[in-house]
Symmetry: C2
Subunit: 296 residues, 2 copies
């Protein structure tokens, strides 16, 4: 196995161990057993674990033991999972499947899915606040970044733009970029910043990590747009062609597959340039390239 | 105006000013204008503001300027508001009205109501983390208390117990007490603890404040049960008799109005006893009595 793959597997397995630990069920919680089951169902549904991997990778690139970032890394995956559970709800995107499995509300009912999402909004802050290896100042900075990145100025704004775009026929590139910046870019950028904060990095590095994250998030979304027309349902784990069916404006509907791929390549190059200050850390470089070339 | 009423008005108006300030809209947020409107709609819907008042009252009872607790007090009202927005959703309690006004999803649609609730989960943590008058240690303690009180071991558990009780015919007093302890008691107890934390209180006082809060929360819920059968829709601002209609088990269905009132009186006495360590602060004593004798 390559060094990259080995490190990747180590990060993912450390994340999954921690998610299980932080959301463990104990007998004193019998009354809320189903809530914790619903939370774990969605936390265990897999996915690429990109956000925690980025937290670790930036921490590690700065010469710090990545395990110090256990709490914020798990927190990012919880917040991401919460957003997927609520996005899939009938009143939102109304998706019955997520990563090839019934979505949370299909498996547990709508009310419990809403509550599981809500509980996954709270647990990240508890996990960060109760962590023993970070200082109070670090933890407060992490809490602030996470709340802003997921809230009304971050991901929350992206979700509203996405929702309101469904009613619009005049969505242009600027709108789309703004939506992706908020909906995907914010949590990716916060993940990168968090790794730096755990490593005690200076402001210049934290800013560079955020820049990288926003660019990576944008490229990631454009590639999602491309995969929706070029992939298969099997590869993707969800129905392809859904953007066209829903009349969604994407980089592909605006520019076609080829041009969209060029744009994604250019933005990926810009993201890679942000890694200069991190000594072009080999793991981060390979991760960036892997995400650009992904098939799902 | 009595000293009590004057102080009460001061606390409520300071809370409402801060809610407006913390959720202010600026032109850079044009894309998420409707999200912020939906959040403010529910934040401004009024209510008793009991949670922020308790934060201030405990801070003040310990000889500390209550304005130091501006951030956690607003945070408690935001979390409470988020829980009401999600509770009212069609998949949850399906309530079209809240405090005499259309509920958030009736006014803004279901998707935006879900997102407004979600954003009101994040803003409290941002507001606490970015506060300038508390220490990092105080802020981390506040974040931890809030996340636990609202999450899977706190209010979240209470909501699941409440939901699952709808399917049960064997709800007894122990179950009901457990549900009220989590669903209402937790956030009330956290409010009382927060006031103490802001004032730099010792652990003994923080524990006494939590005890008081749990008892007050339980008495508060039992009185809710009573008002549902003895009040009018006008006084209550929501339909009366809904517990019976929904076949809900309450202290009234278990014991009748008179016995339920006795239980509420006894628990209120126990709550008052917890105030001993706070020198039986007159404002807190009057607040407790006011809540016991309330008509809505």
């Amino acid at each position: 196995m390559s060094d990259f793959k080995e490190k990747m597997n180590e990060y993912i397995s450390f994340t999954e161990d921690n998610l299980r630990k932080y959301n463990a069920y104990s007998e004193s919680m019998a009354a809320q057993k189903h809530l914790i089951e619903a939370m774990n169902y969605s936390l265990e549904a897999g996915g690429k674990r990109i956000r925690p991997v980025l937290v670790y990778a930036f921490c590690n690139a700065l010469g710090c033991d990545y395990r110090k970032a256990a709490a914020p890394a798990a927190a990012m995956e919880m917040i991401h999972t919460f957003s997927l559970i609520h996005d899939d709800l009938p009143a939102m995107d109304n998706d019955d499947f997520r990563r090839g499995k019934p979505s949370c509300h299909k498996a547990f009912g709508e009310a419990l899915a809403i509550l599981a999402g809500d509980a996954l909004c709270m647990l990240p802050f508890e996990v960060i606040a109760d962590d023993k290896s970070l200082t109070a100042d670090q933890k407060i900075r992490l809490v602030s970044c996470l709340a802003k990145g997921a809230g009304r100025e971050g991901m929350g704004a992206g979700q509203v733009i996405d929702m309101e775009n469904e009613e619009r026929t005049d969505v242009d590139e600027a709108n789309l970029r703004n939506m992706y910046h908020h909906k995907t870019g914010q949590l990716i950028a916060v993940s990168c910043m968090m790794g730096c904060i755990c490593a005690g990095a200076d402001e210049e590095k934290i800013r560079a990590a955020a820049d990288y994250g926003f660019k990576l998030g944008l490229a990631f979304q454009i590639i999602d747009d491309i995969l929706d027309v070029t992939s298969t349902t099997e590869e993707l784990g969800k129905p392809v062609g859904s953007d066209e069916e829903e009349n969604k404006t994407t980089f592909v509907t605006l520019y076609g597959v080829e041009k969209a791929q060029e744009i994604a390549n250019d933005i990926t190059e810009e993201a890679l340039a942000c890694l200069d200050i991190f000594g072009n850390d080999p793991f981060l470089v390979q991760l960036t390239e892997m995400l650009l070339k992904r098939k799902n």
